[in-house]
Structure formats: C-alpha cells, structure tokens
C-alpha cells in the first residue's frame, strides 16, 4: 500500500497565535481518514496546508508525493477539494457548472455521471440560486469529483444537513471509498467520523491528542464503567479490570442479599472519549 499523505511536525503560527503545534500523521492510499476536533482546534488550517492554500511555518508535508506549497496544475488534476463554505455562480445551472469545471481537467468524468453520483439528477437544469443549502453542498462535492481525483479533501461536508441528507451524503462517501479514493474528512460530528473513517485523529489546540481506528480509540484510553443504585444513590465504579470488579460486586451483593439495582456495565463511547480529550483541563 502506498502513502497518500505524510505530515510531520507541522507548525503554523498566525501572528502570536499558534494554530498548529507539531502535527504528525500519515494517510494510506485508499483510506478514509477523519480529522476530528472542536472549532479552532486547527482542522481547517491543517487541511488548507495540505490543499496548498496556506504556507506552513515548519515541518514537512507531502501530498501524493509532492509538497503542496510547490505543486502545480498536474498535482491539482489529482486532488478534489470541498471547502468549508459553498462557492458557486448563482446564475449557472447544475449541469453548466459541471461542464465549466470539467473543462479545467484533462481527463474529467462526465457531468451527467457525477450529477447522478451526488443525487442531483432532478436538479440538473436548475439554476444554483434556486437550490437548497444541502443541494448546494452536493454540488460542491460534484465539483470536487468532476476531475476524477484520486485524493479528496472534504472539509465539514455535511454541516447543516438534515439527518436524511447526511445519510445520503454518507452513502456517497462510502461509494467513493469503494472506488478506491483516498479521503481526508474533517468533521465535528463524531458519528460521522465513526461511520465513515478507517482511522480518526483527534485534534485539540493544534496537537493530535488521539489517533487510531474508531474502535481502538476507546479501550486504551478509558476505563470500563460499572453503575448501579444502592439505597437510591447512584454508584459509579471505574475499573481497568471489569471482570474481577464485577465478580467481587455481585459476590458481595449475593452474600449480603441485596440487589444491584439498574446495574450497567459499559465502555465509554467515542463521543465521551472525544469530549474527555478535547475539554479544558480546568
């Protein structure tokens, strides 16, 4: 497997504000990589450096084997970018947009095919000014796909979607993954990262505080939690030896003849891990 993106010790400073303080990660070709984090954590800065929009202050970056700061048109043929906010011409139709942008690439996909893929077939001849926010976002994705890129950057692609539209967008992203595209996705929706990503990195204050498969991210970091009620009070026990602790608890309860009411054994969800990682250490 080849490496699509290499980022090491990436630093970026805006004035006196340190936006990125040594970010390091790699993304393999064909992988969907989720970059998670609260607003201001440095997600967009990271992505825009990888897209070639911003200059880094230090560190090394390679995207498809090339430094984005020095990349040209040939490199841009191979990437697709969905920026955080939609930008298009209000007076052109969906199909006219795709035809216009298709002309910028040497081997574009056919506009009709891409319109189908993002589910805008019935809006093909609609002017953009008449589209809903979610439809514009789908056109954003379509414009990123028209050049048939091998690597796709999606910066918060479903922000503002209703649940049905989000599920539809997820299906599209899964379809792209099945086509072998490498995808770097930023989101602040945990379920989105969990559903779509092969691996996730959590960014906080310009540093990566956790990285791994969504399923791996939970156990290493956190304890298993055992909850029950005793005399109307909730008791919470955190343990890294759940079998032994539970055995002791139930043994005690049986021996003393009381009931562990509302007994619950659970591992923290990704959401809880994420919150514990990203909240202030106040």
């Amino acid at each position: 497997m080849t490496t699509a993106i290499v980022v090491s010790h990436l630093h970026k400073v805006y004035g006196s504000y340190e936006a990125l303080r040594g970010v390091t990660f790699e993304i393999q070709a064909g992988e969907v990589f989720g970059l998670l984090g609260p607003n201001g954590a440095g997600k967009t800065t990271t992505v825009e450096i990888l897209e070639g929009y911003r200059k880094r202050d230090s560190g090394d970056v390679e995207v498809l084997g090339i430094d984005p700061q020095r990349a040209g048109s040939e490199w841009r043929e191979r990437i697709g970018v969905v920026l955080q906010s939609s930008a298009m011409y209000p007076n052109l139709t969906v199909e006219e947009h795709l035809a216009l942008f298709a002309g910028y690439y040497s081997e574009p996909r056919s506009p009709g095919e891409v319109i189908e893929l993002v589910g805008l077939a019935e809006k093909r001849d609609a002017r953009v000014r008449t589209l809903s926010g979610g439809q514009k976002r789908r056109l954003d994705l379509a414009l990123a796909l028209i050049g048939d890129p091998e690597l796709l950057f999606l910066d918060e692609p479903t922000t503002g979607f209703d649940p049905a539209a989000r599920r539809a967008a997820w299906e599209t992203i899964r379809a792209l993954r099945a086509l072998g595209k490498t995808i770097l996705l930023t989101t602040h929706y945990l379920d989105e990262a969990e559903q779509l990503s092969d691996r996730v990195a959590v960014l906080r204050e310009g540093r990566i505080v956790a990285m791994g498969k969504p399923s791996e991210l939970t156990p290493e970091k956190a304890m298993t939690e055992i909850r029950y009620r005793r005399d109307g009070n909730e008791v919470v026990v955190e343990t890294d030896e759940p079998t032994r602790t539970l055995h002791e608890l139930t043994g005690q309860a049986l021996a003393d003849g009381f009931e562990l009411e509302a007994l619950e054994v659970r591992r923290p969800t990704l959401e809880e891990v994420y919150l514990s990682l990203t909240e202030d250490e106040a």
């Binding site: 048109s73 040939e74 920026l83 910028y104 690439y105």
Partner: protein, 249 residues
Amino acid sequence: MTLFWHELRGEQKLFWRSRELAFFTFLLPIVFFVLLGSVYGSDRIQGLKGSSYLLAGMLGYGVAATAFAGLAITLVIRREGGILKRLRGTPLPAWAYITAVLGSTLFVYALESIALVLLGRGLFGVPWPHQIVSLVLTLLLGGVAFAAMGLALTAAVRSAEGSSAVVNAIYLPMSFISGAFFSPHSFPQFLRGIADVLPLTYFIRLVRDVMLRHQEIWDQPKSVVIVAGWGLFAAIVALRAFRWEPREG
C-alpha cells in the same frame, strides 16, 4: 490556449446571465448616450457637434463602467463568495483565468463601442470615424489600462456588500469630472485641477482627437503615456495586492 477559450466562453455566459451587471456595465452608457444626445446633441461644443463630442465621452464612460467598475465588482463578489479560492483549487492556471476574464471584459467593451458608434450614426448623424486603426488601438489601450485599474481596485474593497457602493463612489464622479457627460471647460477651477490628473480625462481627450479631429493615436503621445502609465502603475499594484481568498477564512 484551450483553457483560455473555454474560460472565455464561460465568462461570457456568466456576464450575460447576470442581468444587473449586463445592464449596469453594458446598457447604461448606451442609455445615457441616447438621453444626453437628445438633450444637447445639436449644440456646438469646442467647434464640434454636441452628439459627436458626447460619443467620445460615452466611449470613455463605457470603458470606466465595463473594464473598471464592472470588472472590479465582479471580482470582489467572486473573491468574497469563495469562487476565486475554489478556482485556485482546480488545475486552471491563474494566468488563463485572468486573461480570460480580461478578454471577456474587452469583448463586452468592443460590442458596446460598436453599439455606441452605430447609434451615434443612426440617431444623431455622427460621421463614421476615419482613423479606424488608431481608434481600435485607442479603445484597446483604454480597455487594458482601465481593466488593470479595476484589478488593482479589488484589493482596496473589503466586502462584497460594499463593492458596488465603493466602486460607484469612485467611477461615477471620475466619469463626471473627466468630462464623459459634459465638457469640462465649463467646470470650476478646482474640478479642472482634479480632471487634469485623472486618466479618464486623457482617454476621452484621446478618443476625441482620434475620432473627431482626424488625428492618429501616435500624434498624441502625452495622452497615450498618461493612460498607459496609470495602467502600468495599476498593473503593478494588482500583481502585488490581488487576493484570491475571502477576508474571512
């Protein structure tokens, strides 16, 4: 080159689809020409027929509206709307984009000039211009110079909402003071002082000399140098200060 023509066609579609812009930059000079020509087209100004004198002014107003104001407003709206940023993310090279946008602007100005000359002939009996080559060169010089000034101006405009207001506040007084609508010879001294440094004054003077006084463009080096100088200065500013990304993010 394929990219240039592709983008030029796209720009033409975008221009004519945007009714407000097409009216504001293309139709307004024609409307003013018909209105003002009907009012004082038969007067005599500086030994010239009023309508002939006015036609030269309207070719100047047209270049300010199309190449300067229209171009600046379009690009600021695209920049602040994130369209320029999106384009930078595609393989379309910056030079292909900018030259196509300029080409499209010059094409609109060429159509406008032809329409004005035809209207002048048809409605007011303005004689056909004789020095065609010089006239085309003059209009081309004006188109390129004022487009460069439009590009430079985008750097000074901060928001899409304010772009029409700021640009109108510059190009309308400039057109007035430079004598696009009336002869500046009746202006008070301080207005003439301002007119003497504005590039549009010299462009209109050049058009008048070439179109109405049967001179060639090379007979008027002073006007040519001043218009070209402003254009060159603006091009340098534009090269340094032109931005592709919106102010926020």
